[in-house]
Amino acid sequence: MPSVHHVSAKSGDVIVLVGTMKGAFVLRANGARKKWDVGGPYSIGSPVYAMAFDQRQGRRRMWWAQQSFRWGTVLCSSDDYGKTITEPETYSVKFPAESKLALKNIWQIALGRADAPDTLYCGVEPAALFESKDAGKSWAPVKGLLDHPHRDRWVPGGGGMCLHTILPDPADPKRMTIAISTAGTYRTDDGGATWQARNQGVRAEFLPEKYPEFGQCVHKIVQHPAKPERLFLQNHWGLYRSDDSGNSWKDIANGVPSDFGFCMVVHPHDPDTVYIVPIESDEYRCTPEGKLRVYRTRNAGKSWEPLTRGLPQKNAMETILRDSLAADTCDPAGIYFGTRSGKVYGSNDEGRSWQAIIEGLPPVVCVRAALVGAGAISSPRRRGGAEKKKAGRKSSAARRAPKRKAHGRARTAKR
């Protein structure tokens, strides 16, 4: 087994959580984001498809999903960047017996709204949404989606039938948008009781009917909290934007080398700025022309520009998966992505230039970034602002806060 190195982070530092097919890693740098320490691996040997960092109420809690093809999938957490890990004795995310379903994997861990600081969500395979209202101690499936009348006609995509995108609406506590491969986009406006397919205008290239009510293979949707009615969508073929909360979508693949891709992230401070990494075709699934290029729009999809400085532009046959692109909330924002070849790249200047932070990791399947002390962030949905200034104040409060126990019945071990 590899030796495990731990990192420590203080307010103002940036951490990048990296989930791989063989465990989780924690990258740490100061606010300059030039030199990185590498912590981990944690959950050695286990695929980690989902990670999150919860800073609400003064927490510094990492969450990750430890998948084992033998022992099942369990949610783990740590309040000290992996030095002490809590792995529940009894698995907390489980389907009820009457569903006749069994958990295969957890694809997404998302934080609840700011006014619900103990709420967490998990998107899982087979496709379902789980909710915890007690900071992850207990979980229950959202019944309205579990019992959805379309469920029998959902089919798995290449990665499995996973619910991979969870977007609680920051303005409307009863509204949430989720995405499932391969079922498409669904939205609830009544707190999860009912869910309506929201796929109008999104093409299903692989079906006889190209614009069905549902069945699209959505790869990722992002939303900026300052403009929650606007959504951007990276489809299995197709780049789209909705300006009406998903009621309708329009094509925005203007000037990209391929409209196929997996990952997408919105700029933390600018709702018009979005990053993607185009991939060549669903047969080849590598970066086009052997060039590793992040594409950015700064006008909500009217045009896209390649960002290449510091990225290999020759013989770079890379694949970046749906959750492997993330942003921190610094100003200027940091953008990070990981490849299936085990490289993690970062930019500390909003994508103008890039550096290889680490190479040689197992295949990367999840990247999350956070400015430590910046309040709530886990996924690329966080409002920006003067968070560096806030960081110091929150950090002081956090240091005074009593230490929490993550679970009532849990095994906590020094690793």
Binding site: F69, W71, G72, T90, A97, K100, R411, A413
Partner: protein
């Protein structure tokens, strides 16, 4: 001799370090034996069975040398003094 269950090294961290556990009582089936095991070491249950009560796909359970998947599954009979083995499947090339 009581019925005993031997578990793999990985799971011993959820059973207080024990890899061989002697069961109380006289279970008639593998299911009854496992129920006795859960009562003593509840953390083992979710790691061996999924939430529908099925043995996880890549775990093999033997009664002596008999694989229960080729017998009666969890209803496989357990003779007195038998050893039940819980073994990770090879599951690879």
């Amino acid at each position: 001799m009581p019925v005993s269950i031997r578990i793999p090294t990985y799971l011993a961290s959820f059973s207080g370090g024990q890899s061989a556990i002697a069961l109380e009582g006289s279970p008639d089936t593998v299911r009854e034996a496992l129920d006795s095991l859960w009562r003593v070491h509840p953390a083992l249950k979710d790691r061996i069975l999924d939430e529908q009560g099925e043995v996880r796909q890549h775990i093999n359970i033997f009664v002596g040398e008999e694989a229960i998947r080729f017998a009666d599954g969890l209803a496989t009979a357990v003779p007195s003094s038998a050893e039940i083995l819980i073994v990770p499947a090879v599951s690879g090339g």
